[in-house]
């Protein structure tokens, strides 16, 4: 059994994460997101709330980064998976230092191009997935949608 850290921002990122949870079965899952109320939706698993941050609020990004260092050092996950955005990118970068294997599933919202965080995550992640076939390239694979 492996320990999976599943991390996403709120709203659509979280909704998409919930649609892939069946692929985690047989493993221990720890969830991280930005809304307190989500704890009720994953009541059988451990849940951490972190600061909601984006390129819009730089100070929160710093707070978020340190929150994630603490969580990842504490949990030592084998696998880190994210559906975006900034919290997932940070978690993937940090978790490389604890030897985790990482998955980035770019949000289905990114139809015209991979998201900014997704483009950056490409350099740090082992499996980099888009949900639109026309956005694939050497590193970024398509293997279906969350729908």
């Amino acid at each position: 059994m492996k320990k999976i850290l599943a991390i996403s921002s709120s709203g659509g990122h979280w909704t998409q994460m919930q649609r892939i949870t069946s692929s985690f079965s047989g493993n221990e899952v720890v969830y991280v997101s930005t809304l307190k109320g989500y704890v009720k939706e994953v009541s059988t698993c451990k849940y951490y709330q972190v600061k909601d941050a984006s390129a819009w609020n730089k100070l929160n990004l710093i707070v978020l980064f340190f929150q994630l260092i603490k969580i990842i050092m504490n949990e030592r996950p084998d696998i880190v998976i994210s559906t975006g955005a900034a919290p997932g990118l940070f978690a993937i970068i940090i978790s490389r230092f604890v030897g985790a294997k990482t998955i980035w599933l770019d949000s289905i919202a990114n139809y015209e191009q991979i998201s900014l965080s997704g483009k950056l995550a490409k350099y740090f992640t082992h499996l980099h997935l888009t949900q639109w076939e026309h956005l694939t390239n050497q590193k970024t694979q398509f293997s279906g949608k969350v729908l």
Partner: protein, 174 residues
């Protein structure tokens, strides 16, 4: 502004409900203002809006800055129609619950988002036949004036495509 404009017991005084959704990250006054303007001349629908800390005092809808996920889901599931920004949470939830949905994409030129991905998402999903899109005020008024005729798109199940789930589980368990 306060959490809501009208007292809570008046929310469901009409038999049909429109739930307006803006997401949690930033206000979306352009969409809310159009709906509020439309609502002046109608008496069929109660309008409940989640406004993400909008500073405008909308007169014709019951507004909440933020709703906890379980409360949000209750409003969402009980509404007759959802009008929302083109956020994936809104779109996927509507598809899962077979809700009437009209999306109104946020645009960067009005400082409503960091980029125009909502506009592109809307086009992509419209091509797949999964959503109704209002690209401007005129479109939105047209949908609002004829809510009965708004098509319900196909219901999706609760899981991602098998191929995607297999890819992820193979990677995890290898």
């Amino acid at each position: 502004m306060g959490t809501f404009n009208k007292s809570e017991d008046t929310i469901f005084r009409k038999s049909f409900v429109i739930f307006v959704v803006t997401g949690t990250q930033a206000p979306f006054d352009r969409m809310l203002s159009i709906i509020d303007k439309w609502a002046v001349n109608q008496d069929t629908y109660s309008i409940i809006a989640q406004t993400a800390n909008s500073e405008i005092n909308f007169k014709n809808m019951t507004c909440f800055d933020y709703l906890e996920p379980d409360v949000f889901n209750e409003y969402f599931n009980n509404a007759d129609v959802i009008i929302g920004h083109a956020g994936m949470g809104t779109i996927i939830k509507a598809l899962e619950n077979k809700k009437k949905l009209v999306v109104f994409p946020r645009l960067v030129k009005y400082n409503e988002h960091r980029n125009d991905h909502q506009h592109h998402t809307a086009i992509g999903f419209e091509k797949l036949g999964l959503i109704n899109v209002a690209y401007n005020e005129k479109d939105l008024f047209r949908y609002l004036n004829n809510i009965i005729e708004i098509p319900v798109k196909r219901k999706i199940n609760q899981n991602a495509e098998k191929q995607l789930l297999k890819k992820i589980s193979n990677f995890i368990n290898k």
